[in-house]
Structure formats: structure tokens, C-alpha cells
């Protein structure tokens, strides 16, 4: 029997099971979440129709006619969980900060008792790990922000956040790939297209990869947006040294 990689398992109703891998969202715990998620998806267990990896937990959704939590746990206990083969990548994401592209930059800077430039330099200081994709299609949930940037989410969410908006809330940061409602603070906007409809996977990044935000000016934004529009944008990558 394979060694159990999760700390705890609990049924979430009669059609879902939650596995918990740790108390805190650290990269090692999150790596385990994605390893088990990949194995469960590949195994096509009876009745299982959905697998949702998050920071520290994995949700497995199934048809209660075809399985139940005990049966599923027993199958999971025997499931081979291959070691991760893929080396994580780090993508540079150009961002036009402030102004119309980032309407919350000045208010959030004021609330944090920082200048807008200080917020930008803190936000671009180092790459952020993508812990999972969620909230909306292709949305990279990244972390963790330096403590100086941590703030509560907006009290009233926007009904439409423009696609490409770079945002933060709490200890998390990320990018809205599509125009959707949203409650995070908008710092800026990337000219790159993040979500390719109908492609699988629809994003060039995956969980465990990193995004490194880089400030650009309005002219650079316009040039990159034009290249993104014609499909000739090149996504810059940097090699990550060993941690």
C-alpha cells in the first residue's frame, strides 16, 4: 500500500471528498496537492468527474451512484502517485501600473502608508509562485505577497474587471485573464493574452510555475498589446536558480 500523502480526508456532502495536505500554504505542501491531483485525473476512478487542487487541499467530486467516500479512499490508498517530472518555469509578465490600467494603485498605496512607486517596487521585487488556477478560468492564484502589501479585499466588488488586470488581496496576487466580476485591488494591466479559448491547457503557465511582474510604460504597453493582438507576442522566461 502506497504511503498516504495527505493528513486528513473528509466528505463534503455525498458527492465530494476533500483531502488536506497541510495547515499552511507552502510550496512543498502545494506540490503534493498537485501530484495527487494529477494522479487522480490520470486514474479516471469510477464515478469521479472533477478534481480541484487548491493551496493545501484537493477536492474530488464524484457521482454518489458510482462511488462513495470510503470506496474512494480505499482506491486512493492504492493509487500510485508518480514523482513530479516537470521542472517549474518562471514567466515575466509586463505590467503597466497605475492610471486607468490600475485604478486602485493610489488608494491601496495610501491605505498601506506607502507611495505608489513603493507598491510597484515591492510587487515587482521577486517572482510569485502560482499555487493553483481558480476563481475564474485560468486565473493564477499567486503568493505570497510581502507583509507590507497585504490588505483586505475591496468592500464592494466590481461587476466587471477588465481582462489582463493585475490585482492583489490579502497575501495573494494574480491576474484576471478574462473580463469577470472581481473584488481584488487593481494595480495595473498586462498587455499579454492569458487565456486561449478552447486550447487545452488554455494558459501558457501552470500551477507550480512562477510569474515575475515587470513595470512597463504606456508606449511599451501599446507595442506589446499590438503584438499580442496579432499573435506575435513572445513571452519572456527567466531561469530560476535553485532556491
Amino acid at each position: 500500500m502506497a504511503k498516504k500523502l495527505w493528513q486528513a480526508a473528509a466528505p463534503a456532502g455525498d458527492g465530494a471528498l476533500v483531502l488536506k495536505f497541510g495547515e499552511h500554504a507552502d510550496p512543498e505542501v502545494n506540490d503534493l496537492v498537485h501530484r495527487v491531483a494529477a494522479a487522480v485525473r490520470a486514474a479516471a476512478l469510477p464515478g469521479v468527474w472533477g478534481v480541484v487542487p487548491a493551496y493545501t487541499t484537493l477536492l474530488i467530486e464524484y457521482d454518489p451512484l458510482l462511488s462513495d467516500d470510503q470506496e474512494l479512499l480505499s482506491l486512493l490508498g492504492h493509487l500510485p502517485i508518480p514523482a513530479e517530472q516537470r521542472v517549474p518555469r518562471c514567466f515575466v509578465l509586463p505590467v503597466l501600473y497605475g492610471g486607468d490600467a490600475g485604478p486602485d494603485l493610489s488608494s491601496v498605496a495610501a491605505a498601506l502608508r506607502l507611495s505608489p512607486d513603493q507598491v510597484i517596487s515591492l510587487h515587482t521585487a521577486s517572482p510569485y509562485r502560482i499555487y493553483c488556477l481558480g476563481f475564474s478560468p485560468g486565473f493564477p492564484l499567486c503568493g505570497m505577497l510581502p507583509v507590507e502589501l497585504r490588505t483586505a479585499r475591496r468592500s464592494s466588488p466590481r461587476t466587471a474587471v477588465p481582462a489582463g488586470s493585475v490585482a492583489m488581496a490579502g497575501a495573494q496576487t494574480g491576474v484576471y485573464p478574462l473580463e469577470t466580476p472581481g473584488g481584488w485591488h487593481l494595480l495595473g494591466k498586462t498587455p499579454l493574452n492569458l487565456f486561449a479559448l478552447g486550447h487545452d491547457p488554455p494558459t501558457f503557465y501552470q500551477p507550480r510555475d512562477s510569474l515575475w511582474f515587470r513595470a512597463i510604460d504606456a508606449d511599451q504597453f501599446a507595442r506589446l498589446a499590438e503584438r499580442a493582438r496579432t499573435g506575435s507576442a513572445v513571452i519572456e522566461e527567466v531561469a530560476l536558480g535553485s532556491p
Binding site: 466528505p11 456532502g13 500554504a25 472533477g50 477536492l59 454518489p64 485560468g138 479559448l197
Partner: protein, 397 residues
């Protein structure tokens, strides 16, 4: 192809199928028809392949006009549908003549009606589904709700007048629940309060979730600064304000607040039929009861629809060709024979398939003389009792 034109779109009318399964790890929501029971009945009444795209009609229905003749079926909420001036009760199929109009006069019972078009609505699949993702604006018909002037196309296959043998709208005030994954984060009194309170469905409910108004479960708000995780569909979560939200199939895949309870699988269709202002109360059940309820609901979907005499008498000479389903009398492994291919002529008693059950072979014969129009499953598929395997169109008299 037959066409159906939208004269007036109604409140929120969208193309939906069973939803985008297997893409949640990419952040793509499941969505699809919120009431899978009613949608399944709408498709069954027309012998549409299971999971065909249908229209989900919310509260105030659309006005539609048949540009060509074609069969439609209605199930779920009673929104007082009319064909011309004739009432059209949910749970039945009708053959529209070119030019005829369907409209909905108001809400009588439930919240969402499902309109199936024979052969299924033809729109492109996006991430394996024809559903409209209204939040991300893709899939379905141009990624949005229907608007006046839109024209839907569907194969317009022959069908016949039928009536569902059971109620297709599962609206009721009582929703059955199991304890939530985060129940231990709530005060000990929260579960009792949840079961003892009559809640009201808020106006701010949508396909993402049902907001409830009523006494909060806790006297002070719960802290929400826990790490985001994926919450199961049907989870009842408590916002920091104490407000409760029941997550439906269009929920974001990750996010959320502490979960006090989960609505059982069999009652997802009940959630879909709740409308703003409705009263909701919760009833605790055991895992065994939850499973039995789901099993019973799935069995009910296998009941045979009642055949009705052709409405208003058959026009002209004789009745139109009819499609007869060949169903599996027992569960087993399907083995096809040469006459099972679409387009093959069969006589009464022709062997069209074999079912392998415990190493025994059970003969399936064609009940009528006619032409095989569709075979739903491939060689070697495991099928359950009552599954429609193929359909044979009888020769026109």
C-alpha cells in the same frame, strides 16, 4: 436543420448542457443546466441523446417563433407556457408548425424551465461542453444569454407526443443536508439554528449561488481569513457578515468561506427551482438516506414516458413515422450486430444487439420493422437497466 427564432429573450434564457466536466483544475467552472433532473426529462421526451443542449429559462420566459416545423419538449418549472393561445403544461412534447409561437405568461411553480429541441441545440463545443458560461462569456450561443433576433438551429428529428409519467419540477421548501466540512469552526449551536430557522431566498441569488436571508447562525461574524480552497457544489457557506450562500454549479472553483453544511446530490434540482422570496428550511439526513434519495431519483428518470394520441388528430393520411427505442432490459455489456448500424433496414424480431450478463448472452430484437436511426453506444460498453441503446424509425404507413 430546423430553426427557432427569439422574438423576446425573457429574463435570462441560455443554452446549457450537462456542464464543463474535467476542467475545474484550469479554473473553468462546471456550469450547465442547474436542474439536471428537469433537463434530462426534456431530452428524454424527444429521445434526444442524454446531455443534449437545451434552453434554460429563468422565471420570465422568452417569446419564440418556429421558422420551421419541429418537435419541442418542456420540463421543470411551470412558467405558464402557451403555444399561440393553447396552454402547454411542462413535462410534455409538442410539434410546432412553422410560424407558431411559444411564450410564457408567468411563474406558477418553480424557477427554471427547460426547453429541449429535437436532436439538441446546435452550437459549438467549448472545453467539451455546449453550456454558456455567463460570467466568463464563452460557450453556448455566443457566450451570452439569448437576445431578440437570435436564431437557434436544431436537427429537427421526428418525435412523438409524450407526457412524463412523473412530476418534472422538484420544487419544495425543504432541502436535505449533511454536516459541512468546516462545521467545527462554527459555535456548537450553529447546526441547531440552521435546522430550526426558516430562511428566505434573497433577490441577489443567481446561477453562482442562492443567498439566504434569516437569523445568522452566529451572534458575531466568523473570521474568513482562512486559505482559499475548492468548495463542493451544494456547500452552504457563511460570509463574515453571517449571511449564508448555497453554491450552485456556476460557482468559482476556488474561493469561499467556512462551510456549515452540504445539500445532498439529489436536492440540487430543488435548489435550481427556488426563486427569490421562497421560504427554505433544512432537514438533516444520514449518508444512507442521501444515497437512497439519489438512487431513487436516477431510477425515476428511467421510467417510460406516456405516449399520447397525436394532438388534434393526424393531419391528412395516417400517422407520421415513429421512433421506437430499444432499451436494455438488464444491465450488461453491449455487443452489436450488423443490423445495428444507423441506416440499416430491420424487420420485427431481427437481432440488433446482444447483452452479456454473467457470461450469458441476452438477445435484443427489433420490436418493429423500419430503419435504425441511431445507436448510442459502441461495442463493449457497459450499460445499465433501462438505458436506451438505439432507436428504430418505423416505416411510414
Amino acid at each position: 436543420m430546423a430553426r427557432l427564432k427569439v422574438l423576446h429573450p425573457g429574463l435570462q434564457t441560455s443554452v446549457q448542457d450537462a456542464g464543463r466536466l474535467g476542467h475545474e483544475h484550469l479554473g473553468i467552472t462546471v456550469g450547465g443546466h442547474l436542474d439536471d433532473y428537469a433537463a434530462a426529462w426534456a431530452n428524454r421526451l424527444l429521445d434526444n441523446p442524454p446531455g443534449s443542449a437545451v434552453l434554460e429559462i429563468t422565471l420570465l420566459g422568452p417569446e419564440l417563433q418556429a421558422l420551421d416545423g419541429g418537435w419541442l419538449a418542456l420540463a421543470g418549472a411551470d412558467l405558464r407556457a402557451l403555444i399561440g393561445d393553447r396552454p402547454w403544461p411542462p413535462g410534455s412534447s409538442r410539434n410546432l408548425r412553422a410560424g407558431e409561437q411559444v411564450r410564457f405568461a408567468g411563474v406558477k411553480r418553480g424557477a427554471r424551465a427547460y426547453l429541449a429541441l429535437s436532436g439538441g441545440i446546435q452550437v459549438a463545443e467549448v472545453f467539451g461542453s455546449r453550456s454558456t458560461d455567463l460570467s466568463a462569456k464563452f460557450g453556448g450561443f455566443k457566450g451570452r444569454c439569448l437576445e431578440a433576433g437570435d436564431v437557434l438551429t436544431y436537427p429537427g428529428l421526428p418525435a412523438h407526443p409524450r407526457l412524463a409519467p412523473v412530476e418534472t419540477c422538484l420544487w419544495r421548501e425543504t432541502v436535505r443536508i449533511l454536516p459541512g466540512v468546516h462545521l467545527d469552526r462554527f459555535p456548537a449551536t450553529a447546526w441547531e439554528r440552521l435546522l430550526g430557522t426558516d430562511f428566505q431566498v434573497s433577490q441577489h441569488s443567481d446561477r453562482v449561488g442562492i443567498r439566504l436571508e434569516g437569523t445568522p447562525l452566529t451572534d458575531k461574524g466568523l473570521t474568513a481569513d482562512t486559505i482559499s480552497e475548492a468548495l463542493a457544489i451544494g456547500s452552504i457557506e457563511a460570509a463574515p457578515s453571517g449571511e449564508l450562500l448555497i453554491l450552485l454549479k456556476s460557482r468559482g472553483s476556488i474561493g469561499g468561506y467556512p462551510t456549515v453544511a452540504h445539500v445532498i446530490r439529489a436536492d440540487w434540482p430543488v435548489l435550481a427551482q427556488l426563486k427569490p422570496g421562497d421560504t427554505v428550511r433544512f432537514q438533516a439526513v444520514s449518508r444512507q438516506q442521501a444515497r437512497a434519495a439519489w438512487q431513487e431519483q436516477q431510477n425515476r428518470l428511467k421510467l417510460t414516458p406516456r405516449e399520447l394520441p397525436a394532438a388534434g388528430g393526424a393531419p391528412g393520411h395516417g400517422s407520421p413515422p415513429r421512433r421506437i427505442a430499444v432499451t436494455a432490459p438488464v444491465g450488461g455489456v453491449l455487443h452489436l450486430t450488423a443490423p445495428s448500424a444507423a441506416g440499416q433496414r430491420v424487420q420485427v424480431g431481427h437481432l440488433v444487439a446482444l447483452l452479456e450478463v454473467s457470461q450469458q448472452f441476452y438477445d435484443l430484437e427489433s420490436p418493429v420493422a423500419g430503419t435504425v436511426v441511431v445507436t448510442y453506444f459502441g461495442e463493449g460498453t457497459s450499460v445499465e437497466t433501462g438505458t436506451v441503446l438505439m432507436e428504430v424509425e418505423t416505416d411510414a404507413p
